[in-house]
């Protein structure tokens, strides 16, 4: 007998993620309007649709001797991996795919970003793209170990790699309360792997858009959707790992999860407008000298408490 997830849930997952991605894009547009001194009105809700249609109309570019296959594969992988990651996130109490190793699965999907973003930068055969790609690899080198330890810390607290179990283990006390460092490290890593806001140096203005310098049309749309979808997946995962998942009074579990996820997503989006870009060389130092020792200490404390 087929014992996997319901087909409708599998079909609905990408749609749901797209809706969250559009919400994130709208919110970012709202912050942008406010900063520019424009009225923040319903116009921002149309922003994601407008950009999507525009990018569908704009022609794709070709550069001189690109590795076209890998270049486009890189950008196209983003959304797919975001959906894969979201599959193990319990929406309320139930995930689309309940896995005994959900935490590892999420991490594995995230690791594919190393390849996806590197290829997006490298494939175009352009200086800006190449610099952006290298910047992302350096950034990944900085955030990856702290991220893994943050994931492991949450798993340690619940003595399970199953995200549903981790949510269940927080029925008494949310993990964020006694592992705040792990929560913060996870959010920093989320911004970094989604190359968003302060961690957008791989695609920053000083390098003419870095990995995105040569990407146009539908290819750019794919990367953009993938980026927002990853922010949404990460926000949903952070709620499951640290903010008690669907736990809360009165409202149904799925609604609690959604409310918390939107709140985290809003905070992630906001960082783009609040902070300048952090140069990768400076982040590298901070990650290895501050973040890594801090998260090791955090997991040690959690391990002692659990013992």
């Amino acid at each position: 007998m087929f014992d996997g997830p319901a087909l409708w849930a599998v079909a609905l997952l990408p749609v749901g993620l797209l809706v969250l991605a559009a919400a994130a894009a709208s919110l970012s547009a709202a912050f942008g309007s406010a900063a520019a001194g424009r009225a923040v009105d319903t116009e921002v809700l149309l922003h994601p649709a407008r950009e999507a249609v525009r990018l569908l109309v704009v022609r794709r570019r070709r550069t001189s001797h690109p590795d076209a296959l890998l270049w486009r594969l890189g950008g196209g992988t983003l959304f797919v991996t975001a959906v894969l990651a979201a599959a193990v996130v319990p929406i309320g109490t139930t995930a689309v795919v309940r896995s005994e190793v959900g935490v590892v699965w999420f991490n594995a999907a995230e690791t594919l970003l190393w390849a996806a973003l590197w290829l997006t930068g490298w494939g175009a055969n352009s200086v800006s793209g190449l610099i952006g790609g290298y910047r992302f690899l350096a950034q990944a080198l900085a955030y990856e170990l702290p991220l893994m330890l943050a994931l492991i810390t949450a798993a340690l607290g619940a003595a399970s790699l199953d995200v549903t179990e981790i949510v269940a283990a927080q029925s008494g006390l949310w993990f964020v309360v006694w592992m705040p460092i792990a929560f913060v490290v996870f959010l920093i890593a989320a911004l970094a792997f989604a190359f968003w806001g302060p961690f957008s140096q791989p695609a920053s203005t000083d390098a003419s858009g870095g990995i995105l310098a040569e990407v146009s049309g539908v290819d750019r749309l794919a990367v953009s959707i993938g980026q927002y979808a990853w922010l949404a997946s990460a926000a949903g995962m952070s709620v499951a790992l640290f903010l008690g998942g669907g736990g809360g009074p009165l409202l149904p579990a799925w609604l609690w999860w959604l409310v918390k996820t939107l709140a985290v997503l809003a905070a992630l989006v906001w960082t783009r407008w609040r902070f300048p870009v952090i140069r990768v060389d400076r982040f590298e130092e901070f990650a290895w000298v501050v973040l890594l020792p801090a998260i090791i200490l955090q997991s040690l404390v959690v391990a002692l408490v659990v013992l």
Binding site: G32, T205, G209, V277
Partner: protein
């Protein structure tokens, strides 16, 4: 069609400034901000190419060839005509016949460029027959958008297809010892003059190893038309204190853009436009105080701009703090001139940049403030 009208309701603008284009550039930045038209980093994301000022014909053409299309371009000389020109650009994007003709003139899909010109007139228009080998060889344009092999000025005999050392017509990267004594590939890449958030007319030719600028040549292009007349006229219109403050905040907007802080960049633009547009003093004082708090005292921005190597040091941090301090006193008349400092920095630019990394190099250039002083004029230094 309505869907297209919707899609291009807020066209993306690539704004580049030619010498003397300060007036139209400020007008474009203000209108784009008010209308919600994003100012973008790369031709790949642009629908409209706007050249503020005259004299960048050839570099602008190289950028133009990289816009994917639908696309349109405008050259602006008169600030008063900017609004109408932007309206016309938006209309042109929706003009199907016009866009079809443009696309047809460019050859097959996925091959946006046919003819490229190196900066010194190399004939790069050889039909190479393999689907776009000439693409994106824009030597002089966006910082480093050209192919991996090097830029236009290094393309001796660049269309010798399939020659031994030139796979696909691109020269192989040379090698040279880097600052740590390792043999590394070198690439020749130009910064400017047709680059957003870049001092008008400045060209910096860099030799790149990894992302380190191992050799730097500073020059300029375009007519001799420094920004001074614009700020002089502004001083006559709104008072010298306001004009001087606006010039400093304008320099700040560029630095914030290069530092990747779009939120504060937009807020700084509002302050600048308010200073030039006659906003009430009390409002401006509040906005400037807020800017000083958020930007001037930002620990993060300080960390990103301080300790940029032996020659640049904390120059960038000192620059934006100085601008903010000067602008804060806009009611007391113009602040003390920084011309001497700025001129000195401009003269030393090549030294400041040599050995810097790509991102810090861009920050150093953005801290130069040539608008304010008319520094970087021809003759100030040799190429």
């Amino acid at each position: 069609m309505d869907l297209t009208r919707f899609a291009f309701g807020k066209p993306h603008v690539l704004l580049i400034e030619a010498p003397g284009g300060t007036g139209p550039r400020l007008a474009v930045e203000r209108l784009a901000r008010e209308r919600g038209w994003p100012l973008v980093d790369t031709p790949a994301d642009a629908d409209v190419l706007v050249v503020a000022g005259a004299g960048l014909h050839e570099p602008a053409q190289l950028v133009w060839d990289q816009l994917p299309g639908p696309r349109t371009r405008i050259t602006l000389l008169d600030p008063d005509r900017v609004e109408a020109a932007l309206d016309e650009a938006a209309r042109s994007l929706l003009d199907r016949a016009e866009q079809r003709a443009d696309a047809a003139a460019r050859g097959p899909r996925d091959e946006p460029m046919q003819e490229m010109g190196g900066d010194s007139g190399h004939d790069m228009s050889a039909e190479d027959g393999d689907g776009g080998s000439g693409d994106d060889m824009g030597g002089d344009d966006m910082g480093g958008d050209d192919g991996g092999g090097g830029s236009g000025h290094d393309m001796h005999g660049g269309h010798d297809m399939g020659g031994g050392d030139m796979p696909a017509g691109l020269p192989m990267a040379d090698r040279a010892p880097d600052r740590d004594g390792l043999e590394l590939d070198i690439l020749h890449v130009p910064w400017g003059p047709a680059l957003p958030w870049w001092p008008a007319g400045l060209v910096v030719r860099i030799q790149l190893q990894g992302d380190v600028l191992s050799e730097v040549e500073v020059g300029r292009i375009g007519p001799t038309a420094p920004a001074a007349p614009f700020w002089q006229a502004a001083a006559d219109a709104v008072g010298s204190g306001r004009a001087a403050a606006a010039a400093r905040i304008d320099a700040l907007t560029r630095l914030l853009a290069v530092a990747g802080w779009s939120g504060e960049r937009l807020r700084a633009q509002r302050v600048r436009d308010g200073l030039l547009g006659g906003a009430p003093n009390e409002e401006l004082v509040g906005q400037l105080e807020r800017l000083e708090r958020r930007v001037g005292r930002s620990a993060l921005l300080r960390r990103m701009t301080a300790a940029l190597g032996p020659s640049a040091g904390a120059r960038v941090t000192e620059a934006y703090r100085g601008w903010l301090a000067d602008a804060g006193g806009f009611r007391d008349g113009p602040p003390a001139s920084r011309t001497a400092d700025a001129q000195e920095a401009a003269d030393q630019l090549a030294d400041l940049l040599t050995g810097a990394e790509w991102s810090t190099g861009r920050l150093i250039v953005a801290s130069l403030d040539p608008e304010l002083t008319g520094a970087l004029q021809p003759g100030a230094h040799r190429v």
